[in-house]
């Protein structure tokens, strides 16, 4: 108990139990009966009642100075105990103002416990429910892909109908505002790659080939993928939270009743912004990563000119395109998943958080999976 309770207990509740000559048990309550001070008295009173199942119980409240909702609850608790007719519980001496409070409650109405929680379901039922949910999700996703494709085609064929102001705003959010974090992560990625590979390569006098490793790994794979993962965490979650909050606030309903398609209004603008910004950010991440590798190699006495010459000799346009071709796909995935999760937001305070989490988790999983598919395709095509 805290200081508040201690202060309130200045005139503490007290209980004296005595067995009268007529066979009844008298519980004499005194002092201040409130929620802060009655915990001990309540337990003792319950114990005194339960230990005398056959005796008549008289609760003497003559010396009670104060009794609020907590004290009344204790009296109701005593009165609701199941007793045989001859062993009934009665209260005497309660001051009229407190008796008025007590009279508002029928102790028998509180005999039944609150509604029990829903019974546990069987495993078979659970499997069925989860499967049905998966199919519902799949159906929603297919419908979303269809609606979005249709809206994107409409935007492509009717560019003047696209809300370009919203697109530029989203470009700023997704692109310009993400530059610091993309810079930092790309730079560190380049440094780590260079250091980790340079140390073993130095044993063979092959430090210069660090440039090949860093150049190829970043241009073909890590630059676009790390940028996409960063944006899935940053912009994907933001899209889900923004659209989720709009759904909770019934703004989506408002759009629908105005005859405006939420997909065209909210999803298309974000996908276009991501399609414009993810390739640019990936290109930027490639440059920063390779530069970081070059700066790291300075500590291994390899000049920048030599490093960049080596990168230029090993990385060609094909490698660049192999990396950049993925970026529009990543962009569509990040924006699409973020918006879908936002549109799927349920009601309640935690719903937006759940949507944002789902957007990030499913976004990253899908990005890595799609990157794996690209790797297989490139292997088959021998590029």
């Amino acid at each position: 108990m805290n200081a508040v309770a201690t202060e309130r207990a200045a005139t503490p509740a007290a209980l004296a139990v005595a067995d009268a000559a007529d066979g009844s048990r008298v519980l004499a309550l005194s002092g201040r009966l409130d929620s802060y001070s009655i915990a001990g008295v309540w337990r003792a009173a319950r114990a005194a009642v339960e230990s005398a199942p056959d005796r008549r119980i008289v609760v003497d409240a003559t010396a009670v100075d104060y009794c609020d909702g907590g004290g009344v609850a204790m009296l109701v608790d005593l009165l609701r105990q199941p007793r045989a007719g001859a062993a009934a519980i009665t209260i005497r001496g309660l001051k009229p103002q407190f008796q008025t409070l007590l009279d508002q409650f029928d102790p028998r109405a509180f005999e039944a416990p609150p509604a029990p929680p829903a019974p546990p379901t069987s495993t078979v039922e659970d499997i069925g429910r989860i499967t049905a949910q998966l199919f519902r999700d799949l159906r929603t996703q297919v419908a979303f892909i269809g609606e979005t494709s249709s809206a994107l085609w409409f935007a492509f064929t009717h560019p003047h109908r696209v809300r370009w102001k919203d697109v530029w705003y989203e470009c700023e959010q997704v692109g310009a505002n993400a530059l610091p974090i993309v810079s930092l992560i790309s730079f560190l990625l380049g440094v780590i790659l260079a250091f980790e590979s340079a140390v073993p390569m130095r044993q063979f006098g092959a430090e210069i080939f660090v440039a090949d490793l860093v150049g190829l790994a970043i241009i073909r794979e890590l630059g676009p993928l790390m940028t996409a993962i960063l944006l899935a965490g940053r912009s994907g979650a933001a899209f889900a939270a923004e659209i989720g909050t709009m759904k909770v606030n019934e703004e989506l309903n408002a759009l629908t009743t105005m005859g405006l398609d939420p997909v065209r209004f909210l999803v298309v603008t974000r996908i276009i912004a991501a399609l414009l910004m993810v390739p640019l950010l990936s290109l930027y991440a490639n440059l920063v990563g390779i530069l970081a590798g070059g700066l790291t190699m300075l500590s291994f006495n390899i000049p920048l000119v030599t490093y960049f010459h080596e990168v230029d000799s090993i990385v060609d346009m094909k490698d660049f395109l192999v990396g950049m071709v993925k970026t529009p796909v990543f962009a569509t995935l990040i924006a699409g998943i973020g918006c879908l999760r936002g549109l799927q937001t349920q009601t309640g305070a935690s719903a937006v958080g759940i949507s944002a989490t789902r957007a990030v988790v499913s976004g990253i999983v899908l990005l890595v999976a799609v990157d794996g598919i690209f790797a297989v395709i490139y292997y088959i095509l021998d590029v």
Binding site: V4, S35, R43, G69, V72, V76, Q104, A109, A115
Partner: protein, 260 residues
């Protein structure tokens, strides 16, 4: 901290100056609330009713002035002393502000869990009795999102009463409710005031509610940045010579002339 001498004054606001970002919304506001009365703060939209309420419950720090709850200055109080003052008051927010991840019973139990050493069964019983008082005992296990707006507000009153505070602050209890639900809420307030002797401080601009429940009102006006009338609402409606007060009570749309 200076003690308030009158034993029947439970809330005393002295020279309160309040606003946001340097803009003064309320200038030098002073009034008292007496024990056991239903006290209503009324006024048009944007006049600072809710701002005043939030200063009275210690949520916002005033630019100047004091708010005494049972003789203790909530503005100056800190730590355990502030917590002690806060246990004397209960607050119902305009939206209900029930915790969406908890059932109604858990919402009402929360203050009991944090402030008392009662057994879980005892806390459950108290929470059920509070919900019974507001007519929601049958909805103990429901989540707030499963209830209507009026039910959420009643549940919020039950939660505000969990620790049996002497003063309940209600922010726009009738806002957004249908007339029947609004009247039921008014009846509940009157019943609680009569049976539990709770002092109510209510912010509202719903005229039917004001006439139905208030013992005394103060009226705020944004042009005056403070109180422009105080007293019985029906008397103010019928006899006030302040054009802004008449405009409010008579629901006149046109801007009234400056008071003399």
């Amino acid at each position: 901290m200076s003690p308030v001498p009158e034993s029947d004054v439970v809330v005393r606001v002295e020279g309160l100056v309040a606003g946001y970002d340097g803009d003064v919304l309320l200038q030098n506001v002073s009034f008292t609330v007496n024990r056991g009365e239903v006290f209503v703060i009324l006024g048009g939209s944007g006049c600072g009713k809710s701002t005043l309420l939030k200063h009275m419950i210690g949520l916002y720090a005033p630019m100047a002035g004091h708010v005494f709850i049972d003789g203790e200055d909530i503005v100056a109080a800190e730590g355990p002393q502030r917590r002690a003052i806060l246990t004397k008051i209960g607050v119902m927010y305009q939206s209900g502000a029930l915790f969406g991840s908890m059932t109604l019973l858990e919402n009402v139990r929360l203050p009991l869990e944090e402030y008392t050493a009662l057994d879980p069964g005892a806390m459950n019983l108290i929470a059920r009795m509070k919900l019974k008082l507001v007519g929601l005992e049958a909805f103990c296990g429901h989540m707030p999102s499963e209830l209507s707006g009026g039910m959420q507000k009643r549940a919020a009153i039950a939660r505000a009463m969990a620790l049996d505070p002497g003063i309940l602050f209600l922010d726009e209890p009738s806002a957004g409710l249908d007339p029947i639900t609004s009247a039921e809420l008014d009846a509940l307030i009157l019943r609680l005031a009569a049976s539990l002797h709770i002092t109510f401080v209510i912010v509202t601009h719903e005229l039917p509610s004001i006439y139905a429940i208030s013992d005394r009102v103060i009226m705020l006006d944004k042009r005056a940045r403070g109180i422009i009338a105080e007293g019985d609402p029906k008397v103010l409606r019928d006899t006030s010579d302040n054009p802004w007060v008449r405009q409010f009570f008579r629901r006149e749309p046109e801007a009234a002339e400056e008071p003399a």
